[in-house]
């Protein structure tokens, strides 16, 4: 089979940032579920990810996907110590808002709202953008994430001092850095290998 692109026809294409559950459709052919070998399944890390066209596309390079997935899970889910999950999801949402990844922002804003119980503030970040006033602690996390997302990064000592003044210790600041940095990986894949589709009615 010759390699080819997919140009999807999308109805009610998402054109703004939302916390709703929207979909994503690829521009290149994912592997079919029945084509997946042991190596591919190892790359997917969780068998349930074989249902996702995004992961079945990325699994074309299984070793990279496996390491990427494990990096992702530890940065966001390892919350025994360090920054609360809500704040990590806020960093992910801020990076995605700044880069313009409507799909990534939808998933992680939903998580940020769920874990913080501050859905209105999260919505303000989506609606008004990264300059929205969310209170000093969240403002400091958003500003640091956005500065790290710029190319070249503009993150500096002032961002570290502001996070520290907002009460974050060194481990928590490192967690902000990882959360924002990781979404500079994720946004680049989500935005360039496919596009968001409408919320499932």
């Amino acid at each position: 089979m010759t390699d080819h692109i997919i140009t999807p026809t999308i109805e009610n294409r998402p054109v703004e940032f939302t916390q709703a559950e929207i979909g994503w459709t690829p521009w290149l052919e994912p592997l079919a579920e029945d084509e997946l070998t042991e190596a591919h399944l190892a790359g997917l890390v969780e068998a349930s990810r074989a249902k996702s066209p995004y992961f079945r596309l990325l699994v074309r390079d299984p070793a990279v996907l496996e390491a990427r997935t494990k990096t992702d899970k530890d940065i966001f889910y390892n919350t025994r110590t360090g920054l609360p999950r809500a704040d990590r999801e806020l960093a992910a949402t801020a990076a995605s808002r700044s880069n313009g990844c409507i799909f990534c922002a939808s998933v992680h804003s939903r998580f940020a709202s769920h874990h913080s119980k501050r859905g209105d503030d999260v919505q303000k970040l989506l609606d008004e953008g990264v300059e929205a006033d969310l209170g000093e602690r969240w403002n400091a996390i958003v500003a640091a994430s956005v500065a790290l997302t710029a190319t070249p990064p503009t993150f500096g000592d002032d961002h570290i001092e502001r996070l520290s003044a907002a009460g974050l210790d060194e481990l928590e600041i490192a967690d902000v850095i990882h959360g924002a940095a990781f979404f500079n990986w994720a946004n680049r894949l989500m935005l360039s290998l496919g596009e968001p589709t409408a919320a499932v009615q």
């Binding site: 390699d3 080819h4 692109i5 997919i6 294409r13 998402p14 054109v15 703004e16 940032f17 521009w27 290149l28 596309l57 990325l58 074309r60 390079d61 070793a63 990279v64 996907l65 496996e66 390491a67 990427r68 494990k70 990096t71 899970k73 530890d74 940065i75 110590t81 360090g82 700044s98 880069n99 313009g100 990844c101 953008g129 790290l148 997302t149 710029a150 190319t151 070249p152 990064p153 993150f155 500096g156 000592d157 570290i160 001092e161 060194e170 481990l171 490192a174 850095i177 990882h178 924002a180 940095a181 990781f182 500079n184 990986w185 994720a186 680049r188 894949l189 935005l191 360039s192 290998l193």
Partner: protein, 205 residues
């Protein structure tokens, strides 16, 4: 894969064994290990598939250069510099990096309420001399890398068609996309942790 490769983030962020940042990274052992494994999976894989080592090093050097990160550029370009056969490539990369500078993120949103946030910026094309030297496949990769680095929200199926037309396969495009995106991540972790380590050393002094 070799086990002798040092931890790249520690090395370039200046994190010394026993330092405060070393202890912080020790509390995230899986992140530390898997970030390194991601690097190894891209630059020391068991199987290079459809993207050669030289292509990987050249594209990563270009991405680091666009981020104006001299140390990370050195990491990726030094193997090319050390091999006499690729010195011409280093010269081409340096010239292209110089011509491809921009400040991101910029780009267009799908038409609608976000259009007021559309921001324009350069659409980079490899120079004629660069294209001649690199060939169509590598030139297309640099142009795509520039899109992914600076104006990712301008990505489109058409941009992927350009890669296919230049000789990239679907598998190769997945690896290329992961490589550019991973280096964007790695640069930000190194930048952030490097500043945090320096600020900690000042506080302790």
């Amino acid at each position: 894969m070799t086990t002798s490769t040092p931890d790249i983030i520690d090395l370039l962020a200046g994190i010394k064994p026993g330092s405060s940042l070393d202890r912080i990274r020790t509390q995230r052992p899986e992140t530390r290990e898997q970030a390194q494994k991601s690097y190894l999976a891209l630059f020391e894989p068991d199987n290079f598939g459809d993207v050669s080592l030289v292509e990987r090093q050249a594209i990563a050097s270009f991405v680091a250069g666009l981020h104006r990160q001299a140390d990370i550029f050195e990491l990726y370009v030094s193997p090319l510099e050390e091999s006499g056969a690729n010195r011409w490539l280093v010269e081409v990369l340096k010239a292209e990096i110089g011509a491809a500078q921009a400040v991101g993120p910029y780009g267009q949103y799908p038409a609608g309420p976000l259009s007021v946030e559309d921001a324009s910026g350069p659409i980079y094309q490899v120079s004629n001399a660069g294209r001649e030297a690199l060939g169509a496949k590598r030139a297309a990769a640099l142009e795509h890398a520039h899109l992914l680095v600076f104006h990712l929200r301008d990505a489109s199926p058409k941009a992927l068609q350009v890669l296919l037309d230049a000789g990239w396969t679907t598998n190769g495009i997945v690896t290329l996309s992961q490589l550019v995106a991973f280096v964007a991540f790695q640069i930000r972790v190194i930048t952030g942790l490097g500043l945090l380590a320096a600020s900690n050393r000042r506080a302790a002094a």
